[in-house]
Point group: C2
Chain length 233, copies 2
Amino acid sequence: MQKDIKPELSTPVEKPISSSQRALVELRSKIFAGELAAGSDHLESELATQLNMSRTPVREAVLTLESQGLLELRPRKGVRIVPLSADDMAEIYEVLTELESLAAERAALAAYDDAELQELAQAIDDMDVAIARDDLDAWAEADDRFHTELVRLGGNSRVISIVHMMSDQVRRARTTTLFMRPLPTKSNEDHRKVLQAIKRGDGDCARITHRSHRREAKKIIVELLQKHRLRFL
Amino acid sequence: MQKDIKPELSTPVEKPISSSQRALVELRSKIFAGELAAGSDHLESELATQLNMSRTPVREAVLTLESQGLLELRPRKGVRIVPLSADDMAEIYEVLTELESLAAERAALAAYDDAELQELAQAIDDMDVAIARDDLDAWAEADDRFHTELVRLGGNSRVISIVHMMSDQVRRARTTTLFMRPLPTKSNEDHRKVLQAIKRGDGDCARITHRSHRREAKKIIVELLQKHRLRFL
DNA sequence: GCATTCCATTGCGTATGCATTAAATGATGC
DNA sequence: GCATCATTTAATGCATACGCAATGGAATGC
């Protein structure tokens, strides 16, 4: 796949931003912001007026979001923001576990130098700081950054986009899970181990370490969800 | 209330089949049949007349297919059937490897009885027969069946749909790769080992065995592709 | 001959209108 | 009262229309 080669003018270039793109972006953020709550139904026309455009671009955005698992199209009842059950969380975490572990392995085998692993190291440090300050939001942000960067370093574009999709589905629930779960103090030890393994070029160690790290996280979250009988409705 | 409202004729079910559904199905099969060749460009209006419908449902189908990685929308040049490079194949196989291995593990831990594993066993036998007869098509079909069933038994719906997507991308290339690669005689030994591990409930063994099986297959295919300089254009 | 500008073409993005049909409501018979 | 059927309502699926902007080519200037 050849990337589009654009020398790009000195001027940043104005973005005409298409309506369907805007619909996509805005609907996504409304979903993440909880403005469109999980489990709620919305008519296409309703969303259209809300976004100040016709049904057509909304429909396209909705179709895309559906294929990404954030929405569900129900013929006469409007689009439904899919609610996540504990089982769904388990499924998603399983996928994330495997694909991120793969990425960790590939990253280790790619022989990145320290400079290229800077972002990863930074994310880990930021998590430490956040934990020390008891700042859960900052921790979540840095944790996200760590995982995103890890996957990017893995270099498999399909893994990147799948992980992105799955993370999106989980992201909405993060607000809830974040404050339920115990402070992830031990978590960063694992992150450091993974980083060290990558630096060492030890693919198996990176993979296995990250794998058990993720499995552990999954177990904790799913148990919490089941205990609290939460369904994210 | 939910009881049968209408005795309904002896005919099973009437299918009103929507246009966009039809567009989706027909475009897919045209792609797999090579009627829409990889790398070729097609205008929306062209496809619309071809399918005897307006641009709208075609557009919707195309959008969906794009999000599934089979198409690429290029503003003024029409939709392009995405060609796969050797690197793409490698990426896809990596994803398949990890997710199928996960499925194998989960299947083993699910304690299925022999009856429930019948389909899997059957697929393996069919592959043996196909190999003995030198019938590559039959082998490919049974192999597909094996992997599909394995993933189904894994029970993770997200894994199922991702694997399905990835398999689709690869399926188009199958015609080519099938006849290049050496007869997969050893392959079935691995399949049997996986099945045995599942019957035994040995998750780790199932996972590891399937994993190395898939990694092997990936290596062979990718090397072949690189050697032959094939790009599926 | 080469480059630059202008124009015609046309594919796409979006809006709009219409027909279909699923759901809801009311009517009718028992 | 309850259930079945008819009628109405309205959301969707699809067709169609239209303007814009990009592309290719012609025309003009050098």
